[in-house]
Symmetry: C2
Subunit: 330 residues, 2 copies
């Protein structure tokens, strides 16, 4: 079988099944980060690969932006486990005709976010490569018990932080290269260029034991909800009218409606399940999360799969369920 038939998640599943769990490994392949235990202390390790032409395009991304985003994406994975970041290791494949100052700009973007988030860049490898690629590896601590994808139960509430779809809409504006001083357009573009990992919300939810399953929304709400549901053995209902949309999104979405909020990707918000009995407690302390949260649906038995209901309670048909790198053409 070729990889474009099996798909990325099929491949990961095969690798996971064939891999024995080692000593001290609380959670291996398949969540936002690996969870390791050493002398009663929990460590988290996450990794991401970004490839020119697959994950980014230098036509509308600066090197500074790319550096910033490389770290942000990994911070978001740790946030989704309730972790606290510490050390970054970065390997790059660089075309030989790149300018030194471009690579320095990339590292400037890394350092800008690293110093904000208390991360030290401690090493890596560089090599010549036909295409530019970035492979990042972030190590962090889990001050509280990590939140995995697999703890969701039927009957749980489904919450998401911030607003959805801004980044996908921002990318669309960037691609059009229309000069715009309009605040709302600038907001959407900034949400795409400089995503905010929800670290404070993640660690707070872990500390208060308020999320029993969590994932970050990187590939689009529905796709990531699918991962969470699969790991938890549940289904989900999402209410279209409850989706948190920014006013900028509402201004620019036009005929896209809620499509980008459901499937756009690169939101880097947190999606989590909450036991219904904790709803009141969460509402009371939600101001301490550092970001708004919205109840967007509920967890149902797995046989009901994942549905999005419109205002009248009718299911939408969503054909675009996020993005699989192996199943799309390069």
């Amino acid at each position: 079988m070729r990889l474009n038939e099996l798909g990325e998640f099929g491949l990961i599943e095969r690798i996971r099944k064939a891999t024995p769990k080692g000593q001290g490994v609380r959670l291996g392949i398949g969540d936002d980060a690996a969870w390791l235990e050493c002398r009663n202390r929990s460590f988290l390790i996450t990794s991401d690969v970004l490839i020119e032409g697959v994950h980014f395009n230098l036509k509308w991304s600066t090197f500074y932006d790319l550096g910033y985003k490389t770290l942000a994406v990994n911070l978001s994975d740790l946030a989704a486990m309730g972790g606290s970041p510490a050390y970054l290791v970065l390997s790059l494949g660089i075309p030989v005709d790149f300018k030194t100052k471009d690579i320095e700009e990339f590292y400037r973007g890394i350092r800008a976010l690293a110093s904000q988030s208390g991360v030290a860049l401690v090493g890596g490898d560089t090599s010549a490569s036909k295409r530019f690629f970035i492979s990042a590896f972030l190590v962090g601590y889990a001050p509280h018990r990590p939140i995995t994808r697999s703890g969701g139960k039927v009957g749980d509430d489904l919450y998401v932080t911030g607003t959805l779809g801004d980044s996908a809409l921002g990318l669309e504006l960037l691609k059009k290269k229309e000069e715009s001083n309009e605040d709302k357009a600038a907001y959407l573009i900034a949400r795409h260029r400089f995503p905010t990992a929800r670290l404070k919300a993640g660690t707070f939810l872990a500390q208060e034991k308020l999320a029993n399953a969590m994932i970050d929304v990187s590939d689009g709400l529905l796709q990531d909800l699918g991962h969470l549901c699969k790991a938890s053995g549940i289904g989900a209902v999402v209410w279209q009218e409850a989706l948190p949309l920014s006013s900028a999104y509402r201004s620019y979405a036009g005929r896209k409606g809620t499509l980008y909020a459901l499937t756009g990707g690169e939101d880097y918000e947190l999606l989590f399940c909450l036991r219904r009995r904790n709803r009141t407690r969460l509402e009371k302390i939600k101001k301490r999360l550092g970001v708004s949260i919205t109840r967007i649906g509920k967890c149902v038995p797995s046989r009901e799969a994942i549905k999005v209901l419109d205002g009248k309670g009718s299911p939408l048909s969503i054909s675009v369920l996020g993005h699989d790198h192996f199943k799309s053409k390069l």
Copy 2:
């Protein structure tokens, strides 16, 4: 300035200088591995990138071999610090038309060496890519104080484990694709396909405090000796006639003489400095290293640079000082 003028090590130096050292970071960018300290325990992190067409060629490497070697290369970096490996994170960029069984073969190679060396594969990322590339991160412990590249002093002895040049000669035989049942050819090819990281020797030298500077020989003896000398602020003399050569190497080297032993690369042996006063102690306990060691030279003042002396004490001229990916054409 373009990267092919600056070169790989120039780039790393620039990045290193611009990067602040974080909390708990004992040693950041620039050695075989980063050295981190947490609650009085030392951790080591190393990373390597392998790219099709730059570091390997699928014409003469199987997927199994590549998996095995990916881990071996990283184990060797930890060995060079006296470390003990624990967790592997692996990110792959995979062409979409690759077969699933090829990638499974790759992981089979990884697991074969992982189970031998007590390493757990705990995570990673996969993505579609035009060219196949592998980005590996290995986390380990340092049971004893790690050995860096920078502790060499004028007057130290210079030692190397095992034999040199076998791998480069093995690769040459592989490229020729001559079928050979001859034991010596098979030995050289196996040395290239399945390198042995000197983990036991590395941790033993760290435990006994017998190496005051160490590096693994991955880019060729002279280039890696150059890194060690630069980090230690010293020069070195290597005696050509002392270079440890296998009988297979002697049979097949022909007109290459000691060239591959000096510059061939992919040996994954350990090169280390020893205070002269410890020479007798090392000779007494060297059987416990699990591999032969050979005294190949001595450390001299930095103004004398690096020289290789022939049997008559005359310096050789070595123009090929190892390999810089950015300075060679792809």
